[in-house]
Amino acid sequence: MIYADKSAGIIVAGATGRQGAFHIALMNEYAKMVGGTGVVAGVTPGKGGQVASGVPVYNSIREAMADIDAEVSVIFVPATAAGDSIMESANAGLSLAVTITEHIPVHDTMKAIAFAKLHDCAVIGPNCPGMLSPGEIKLGIMPSHLFSRGNIGVISRSGTLTYEIVDELTKAGLGQSTVVGIGGDPVIGQTFSDVLRRFEEDPQTKAVVLIGEVGGALEEEGARCTDLPVAAYIAGISAPPEKRMGHAGAIIEGGEGDARSKIERLRKMGVPVASRPSEIPGIIKKIL
């Protein structure tokens, strides 16, 4: 388990929206099951005093923090205000801002991440499904029924593809320590390297699955900096250059970050790369 344990109080920013309210309920259902604190407050400017899925709503994180104890935020606010919400979380002293929102302008993301760093606040996302440590805490929108507790860490740029691979792991009897969706945008807060560093300090995690995509070189950077046994899957081997494959990050720019050369670089570092998601459990069993 990394980033947060079950005792962490959660603030949901964008609590009164359809998505926010819906996922407050699911996160609290999970917290109840594992005996965790769960979501203690929602925040939506101008809607203070309302209640969202049984949780009190405040106008600002600062206002909420006067009443309750919280360590992390999960952000569902619309794209144009999400950068602001990350900065508000950091400024209020939260240690983690999990940003689910997609389509945030990249300059907003860059500014918010730089600001959060000044306040020692880690940002997961944006454009991500959040994270889940089975039996401990769920921050975000991952479907918890596919997960099981164990020793495998998972770091992924995707959402549903993560669920696919977690499902394969669970069916193969390989439980997970923490599964982190780091997000599909070109600029994200916590990268493969950052999460891997946390996994190295986590006694529960014995091996890590990296689920990458075309674009950039974050997967290789991560694999280079860790001593943990790592297996990888890279999506987008059939992606044409200069075309954005859904995720803004999944684009091959100027010949950089195409899947074939990414896979080759990883293999050269000694990282086994699966050619199909279904091969992951077999590889993990071998390297454990």
Partner: protein
């Protein structure tokens, strides 16, 4: 979205970067009526978004005698498959020296990366590969409102001080326009001073609205239609239509198709909340691509309701075969709905992809 040269130059000029005198024309006649506004010798530059435009014949030298004729010839051409509809007619510069300057979003530092080299006018990618030390780099957090003096000194080396002002203005333009790339290649010195001889600007697609841009020109009509429904859509060259939820899963579906030696016709990510209506639109959109012989629908999600998805597929009422992989709630109901209508629903993504590849063989 990529800006054309003349659009990028006008943005740069608004931010204080000197650009050559010139104007945009839409026909050779338009040039004939305005010849006196240009110096005796000038250039005609096709406004098409293709790489290697000069080598492909998109840039012609001209003077007052042959200008109209050359413009006529250029308007009749297509450059690497793109028809010339606009030409930038511009003064010819007396180039003494060429530099390269750019500012781009850097994924790994999460900051803006400024590049400058005194060896401009060459292919920057080749220079970066062969002599990386010739390119000076600086990383600047976007919290900074301007480039600090030490950074400018480090970047410029022996280049004239005016180049520092250009870099400063380029940074301002980069920030104001939500750019992912702002590039001047080449930045040239002439007896009349420093000029941006060419200009490139790419604006973040997620910031188009606040930049006042309503329509993304980089998209095809079908991609735009897909966007209206909230789908991410890319057209490819095969015959297997692909619909998935989530970019990674959809990409992995495409990869599996090519693993089993099939060819995908498209990438379509329906996004979150795949309900009946959205699935129907997605299926119809993909079925409308003439080359599509079979469609694979691969949807996985905790909250996806399989019966809703099944109803969407049935409501689309298309002629092609649809192979479905669904995992979520109400799976059994979805399966029996689909089976009743003769659609195949399979349990794993690999089985479904294999079935789709076999169906087109």
């Amino acid at each position: 979205m990529k800006f054309l040269e003349h659009e990028a130059k006008s943005v740069f000029s608004d931010n204080g970067i000197p650009v050559p005198r010139g104007f945009l024309i839409h026909s050779a006649d338009e040039l004939a009526g305005n010849l006196e506004q240009l110096p005796p010798e000038f250039v005609l530059k096709a406004q098409v978004d293709v790489g290697g435009r000069g080598k492909a014949g998109g840039i012609l030298m001209a003077d007052r005698k042959n200008g109209v004729e050359n413009a006529k010839a250029l308007f009749g051409k297509s450059i690497k498959g793109v028809a010339v509809k606009e030409i930038l007619a511009e003064e010819r510069l007396e180039i003494q020296r060429e530099y390269y300057a750019s500012i781009a979003v850097d994924r790994s530092t999460k900051e803006a990366l400024i590049l400058f080299t005194e060896e401009g006018g060459v292919d920057i990618e080749i220079l970066a590969r062969e002599r990386p030390s010739a390119i000076r780099r600086a990383s600047i957090p976007l919290l900074m409102t301007e480039i600090p003096p030490f950074m400018l000194r480090d970047l410029l080396g022996e280049a004239p001080r005016e180049a520092g002002r250009v870099l400063q203005s380029l940074y301002t333009a980069f920030c104001r326009k939500d750019a992912v790339l702002a590039e001047i290649n080449p930045l040239v010195t002439t007896p009349a001073g420093l000029f941006a001889a060419d200009a490139k600007l790419i604006v973040d697609d997620n910031a188009l609205r606040r930049q006042g841009i309503s329509c993304n020109r980089d998209m095809t009509d079908r991609e735009r239609e897909a966007e209206r429904h909230g789908f991410s859509y890319v057209e490819l060259e095969g015959n297997i239509g692909v619909i998935g939820n989530g970019a990674g899963l959809t990409m992995a579906t495409l990869d599996l198709i090519s693993f089993f030696k099939g060819k995908a016709a498209n990438f379509l990510d329906v996004g979150g909340g795949a309900d009946q209506e959205r699935v129907m639109h997605a299926v119809r959109l993909v079925a409308g691509v003439p080359s599509v012989k079979v469609i694979i629908v691969n949807l996985l999600g905790g909250i996806t309701r399989c019966d809703e998805v099944a109803r969407g597929i049935i409501a689309a009422g298309i002629s092609q075969e649809v192979i479905v992989r669904l995992a979520g709630t109400n799976e059994e109901e979805g399966r029996s709905l689909l089976n009743e209508r003769g659609y195949r629903m399979l349990d794993s993504m690999e089985e479904a992809v294999r079935a789709a590849v076999e169906a087109v063989r």
